[in-house]
Amino acid sequence: MEKLAPARERLVKSNKNWMGGEMRGKILVFTCAVIMISATISITIFLGTKGLQSFIKNGVNLIDFITSTHWNPTNQANPEYGVLPFIFGSFAVTFLSALIAAPLGIGAAIFMTEIAPSWGRKILQPVIELLVGIPSVVYGFIGLSVLVPFIRGHVGGLGFSLLAGMIVLAIMILPTITSIATDAISSLPNNLREGSYALGATRWQTIRKVLIPAALPSLLTAIVLGMARAFGEALAVQMVIGNVRDLPSSLLDASATLTTIITLNMGHTTYGSVENNTLWSMGLILLVMSFAFILLIRYLSARRKL
């Protein structure tokens, strides 16, 4: 009977707070969820209103802003705010780095799932995880101290170039592409493989004609996610790309991206000035682009379910 007493007390006690505890818990976790929604909405609203100020308050022409190639905000008499070179730079490094990283990443994924599923995965999986773990400034720093002098010495130009930015970014987005592509290919039903092998196809024919087409939407998702990461990366690119205001004419030319201009100039422009406001507008472009990437991914994953 002694043993039962505390249990009975516990039951009575829990009966008393039954509604209280249950509701309190539910409200608690719901608040956490609401905080997340409000964070997202407030980011959109704050950056949206701040980013539009240069057009509304300072009278910068939106069309000129995104189509003019002349960026000259410090010119007293006739300041010009054309960010096309930076938009071009952002898209150029994004696509070029995806062009390198996509074959490597998907190749690595196929190596892990099809060529050497046991030992290959055991070696490459930690390698990919470690690559994710290296901070972006460290990538930038190695790019600055190894890649830039190498390009200057062996390829030509100043070294600070689109090429350097694209290689650094390609290595940075490689793990993203590889890990998603690996999941995509390994989640394909095994009877696809067996069916193809039973028809006498070689492994390469199976990969090329069966597995890659079947996994294509997910592989594209992987590439888009990698590109989204490349588009928003700031410091690593900023350290190697050279940051000039002109449109690059070759891979060896220095260039600039939206993120690098923001990083460089945000600190030493006066808050509220026209130049500072145009930086916020560039931030808004980044925000809009990351929404666009999400919509693209949504579209791709909707295709996957068919």
Partner: protein
């Protein structure tokens, strides 16, 4: 070319890709460690940095990195795990749940520089705090929250349904079941995920540039009063972290020993992140062993 040869060539190409990736990693790590470790000494870790003279260390930056990480985690873990519990246990399929899921997706795909700008707008300018540790930690919370939510949601969903049903069948309320049955058994995976997220936070720089600032006041480590401006514990002081330090000495630094300082800092940073990874794996396997009784 017959299909057998094509197959052999393709296999060769895939093996070559794997070798390329492995050698990139080995190259990166050996470069960082070989070049960096020779500058890392007790002296380097314990002297304050210098803005103009050679021979500065990274004492304050290292402390700031860990301190911001701790503050971030204090804010982000309860929010993230709470959000994860809601998503896994309470959210019913519908518009609200979809909205939350989209928000998590948006937050996790935002570039860190955009989060830094949001932090500058809200935690630095609107609040009038200036560059502070708290502002940096809040920006990093925004950056980190989606990861923790996703990790805890997955971990809670992976808990066997039998456990939950058994608990509910004993007449225990849902919330009590979550607290006493589900969370403890999801704990190992949540912990592993959080430590990995911590590694990411530790190396993050872009979100901190405009929120925690590029400078550190002169710190007095004997001063433990969290409201004094010289105290390292004050959360309303600017703080340059290790990752930001690497960037700033390389792009705007005036010190003559840029290479030494940044090589050393990069090595310390990479080793710390590596330690986070190893600890996460070690804890994960330790707890799995304990729970599943496998060897």
């Amino acid at each position: 070319m017959n299909s057998k040869t094509a197959d052999r060539i393709a296999t060769g190409v895939f093996v070559a890709i794997a070798i390329i990736i492995i050698s990139i990693l080995v190259g990166l790590f050996s470069y960082i460690l070989v070049n960096g470790l020779k500058y890392v000494s007790w002296d380097f870790l314990t002297t304050p940095s210098s803005n103009i003279r050679a021979g500065g260390g990274i004492r304050d930056q290292l402390f700031n990195s860990f301190y911001i990480l701790v503050i971030t985690m204090i804010i982000a873990i309860p929010l993230g795990v709470g959000g994860g519990i809601y998503m896994a246990e309470y959210a019913k399929p519908g518009k609200v749940t979809n909205a939350i899921r989209s928000c998590v997706e948006v937050l996790s795909s935002l570039p860190s520089i955009v989060i830094g700008m949001f932090g500058l707008l809200v935690f630095v300018n609107t609040t009038g705090w200036g560059y502070t540790i708290l502002g940096g930690a809040l920006a990093l919370t925004v950056f980190n929250l989606p990861v923790i939510v996703r990790v805890s949601e997955d971990a809670i969903r992976a808990v066997p349904l039998d456990l939950k049903e058994a608990s509910l069948a004993l007449g225990i309320t849902h919330w009590h079941t979550i607290k006493t049955v589900i969370l403890p058994s999801a704990f190992p995976s949540i912990l592993t995920g959080i430590i990995l997220a911590a590694g990411r936070v530790f190396g993050e720089a872009a979100a901190l540039l405009f929120t925690a600032g590029l400078s550190t006041p002169r710190l007095d480590y004997a001063n433990w009063n969290p409201f004094s401006p010289q105290s390292p514990l004050n959360i309303f002081r600017p703080a340059e972290t290790l990752a930001v330090h690497i960037w700033s000495v390389n792009t705007q630094g005036l010190i003559p020993d840029v290479t030494e300082v940044s090589n050393g800092s990069a090595a310390v940073l990479v080793i710390s992140v590596l330690l986070f990874n190893l600890v996460a794996r070690w804890i994960g396997s330790l707890i799995t062993k304990k729970i599943t009784a496998t060897k």
